[in-house]
């Protein structure tokens, strides 16, 4: 019962964050110069004509009323239409681009968690030895190295110098898809890997000092089992919490990686929309990215009380 209460609370928090993000997005788009009426009327329309269209479209209603109808539109699947080109519905654009971004982001976070937890554990076990220092230095570099610096270096080595991988996405792929995704995923996972490594290391060092570990050593628990089953299971909880925040960095990175490797994802779509001042598309893309962020964070939040009974009890 306690578990359900904790889960319900976290789920509610996710919904509130979503509403907040959608409201901020809506207000920001509202402040942008030009509105749908001006675009629909065309460039030569008179002021009276624009005002008339604005009336018809209900754009002169109060902000909150329009926000309400925007939200109910979104719930019904009406995300607005692009101002430019064929006036493609925003939802169609998102259906095309979101899965690509989600795929890359999920691959990157999986890679980052696997490598990060492994390196962090090794580092903690060898605390203050050479291995630990090397991993720590590398992870410091990993946290600070901009990903649009890493990307050209990797591309130069693997695509230009050795010609092993394709550099940019093409509309018809000439190689298996994973070859196109390999470099972007590696670039994207660098910073999360470094963060997760450092966090796992810190958390693992704390855990290894605890009394139950000493008891387990005294009892003669084999070393491998001690590390994986006793220590890591405890040390990993803060790491899981951090994966939610790390996903934020990943989204930042995905704008860069998609732009650099010309991958048709939400990031590229957003940038293109900004460059042609296509407000409904910007709005939709930012909202979609925000939704991804909130959903991942909510999933992480929901996982924690399931994994850790102490949180379950504290959270009532």
């Amino acid at each position: 019962m306690q578990l359900f209460k904790a889960l319900g609370f976290r789920f509610l928090f996710g919904i509130v964050s979503l509403l907040f993000i959608s409201f901020v997005t809506f207000v920001a788009s509202d402040l942008a110069p030009g509105d749908a009426a001006m675009y629909n009327a065309g460039e030569k329309a008179s002021v009276e004509r624009i005002e008339q269209i604005r009336e018809q479209m209900g754009l002169n209603r109060p902000l909150l009323v329009r926000y309400g109808s925007y939200i109910s539109g979104i719930a019904k699947g009406d995300w607005g239409e692009s101002y430019s080109g064929t006036h493609e519905p925003v939802l169609d654009k998102l259906k095309r681009t979101v899965p690509m971004t989600a795929k890359i982001a999920i691959l990157a976070i999986t890679l980052a968690s696997a490598i990060g937890i492994f390196l962090g554990t090794i580092s903690a076990l060898k605390e203050k030895k050479f291995t630990d220092r090397s991993i720590l230095t590398l992870s410091t570099l990993g946290v600070t190295l901009p990903n649009f610096v890493l990307a050209p270096i990797l591309v130069y080595i693997f695509a230009v110098k050795f010609d092993m991988l394709p550099t940019t996405w093409e509309s018809d792929l000439r190689a298996p898809e994973w070859m196109y995704l390999l470099l972007p995923v590696v670039v994207l996972s660098l910073r999360p890997t470094a963060l997760i490594t450092r966090l796992t290391r810190a958390s693992m060092i704390e855990t290894l000092k605890q009394e139950f570990i000493r008891t387990a050593i005294a009892k003669g628990v084999p070393r491998f089992r001690l590390v994986t089953k006793y220590a890591l299971r405890n040390a990993i909880l803060p790491v899981i919490t951090s994966i939610g925040t790390t996903f934020g960095f990943l989204l930042t990175g995905s704008f860069v990686a998609e732009r650099f490797f010309t991958i048709p994802g939400v990031g590229s779509e957003t940038i293109e929309a900004i460059l042609r001042n296509d407000v409904p598309v910007i709005q939709g893309c930012v909202l979609a990215t925000g939704i991804m962020f909130v959903v991942i964070n909510t999933i992480v939040d929901l996982l924690l009380p399931i994994l850790d009974p102490r949180i379950r009890e504290a959270q009532v």
Binding site: F148, P152, Y156, F255, I271, I282
Partner: protein
């Protein structure tokens, strides 16, 4: 027990940043470069390698000197970085102080707003602001300030809450000090060290964010030089002129590393007990 600032990385950072500042100020006047701009010989290849006569680091595909562009880029990056940091610290301290000392009905909404801002990944908020204002120099500053202040406000609040129960503060209060007097004379000086450390790391963040936006093509607009824009331009020339990538990548990475080294060093110095994750 006061530790000395003897970590060599901190000194590397300080020296590099001082050099970068000088480069930003005097770089455009370095006599080897920019005698004529563009410097290339109209008959020859505009791409000059490093060590060329009027461009010591070489030129890009339309004959512009890298050294000059890096220097102007440094001006832009540092100017945006410092401005954003100044705004963030001002708003952050103000919001942090108000949310600590103001009555509940003012403090509560401010804290909820700060929490709410954290629900947004920084870059998304920045992109949203630029989406509304259009790309450019000023929008970058506005965007980075809007997304940056909540972290500073939270830090200030956390520090203030723990400091205000300390004896010297209680004593000053008992002696009749007003709240603004307390904040400016007793509390802020106490936390200035940690604020300085964090703002160094945040400065690295602002410079990186500015470069990211310029790299994406929605920050500082061409033909104004910016490191991010130079990297974006250079990636298109990667096959023919890989060196073009090297300069902006190196200077940007070194600037970001240096500021982080300085920030970490200062934090260890002022707050030795802080966990260093």
């Amino acid at each position: 027990m006061k530790k000395k600032l003897k970590d060599p990385l901190v000194w590397f950072g300080i020296i590099f940043m001082a050099a970068l500042l000088l480069f930003a100020i005097f770089g455009p006047y370095i006599p080897t470069d920019g005698k004529s701009n563009p410097v290339f010989d109209p008959a020859g290849d505009p791409h000059l390698g490093p060590g060329a006569k009027h461009a010591i680091l070489g030129t890009d595909e339309i004959g512009r000197s890298f050294l000059q562009r890096l220097a102007y880029g440094a001006r832009i990056s540092l100017f945006i970085g410092f401005t954003v940091q100044f705004i963030n610290i001002s708003i952050g301290i103000f919001m942090g102080a108000v949310s600590t000392f103001a009555p509940r009905w003012i403090a509560s909404p401010i804290m909820r707003l700060t929490d709410g801002m954290f629900a947004f990944p920084d870059i998304l908020l920045a992109i949203l602001v630029i989406g509304a204002l259009g790309p450019g120099f000023i929008p970058v500053i506005v965007a980075l300030s809007i997304s940056g202040w909540p972290a500073m406000a939270r830090l200030t609040r956390n520090q203030l809450v723990s400091l205000k129960e300390r004896e010297f503060v209680v004593a000053a209060k008992a002696a009749g000090a007003s709240t603004p007097y307390l904040i400016f004379k007793h509390l802020l000086p106490q936390m200035s060290g940690i604020l300085l450390a964090v703002s160094m790391i945040d400065l690295a963040g602002s410079i990186l964010a500015e470069s990211t936006l310029s790299f994406l093509g929605i920050g500082v607009q061409a033909p104004n030089p910016s490191w991010g824009g130079m990297i974006n331009n250079a990636r298109l020339q990667m096959n023919s002129n890989p060196l073009e990538l090297l300069w902006p990548c190196a200077i940007l990475s070194l600037a970001v590393f240096s500021l982080n080294f300085i920030g970490d060093g200062l934090r260890n110095y002022f707050d030795p007990n802080s966990s260093n994750i």
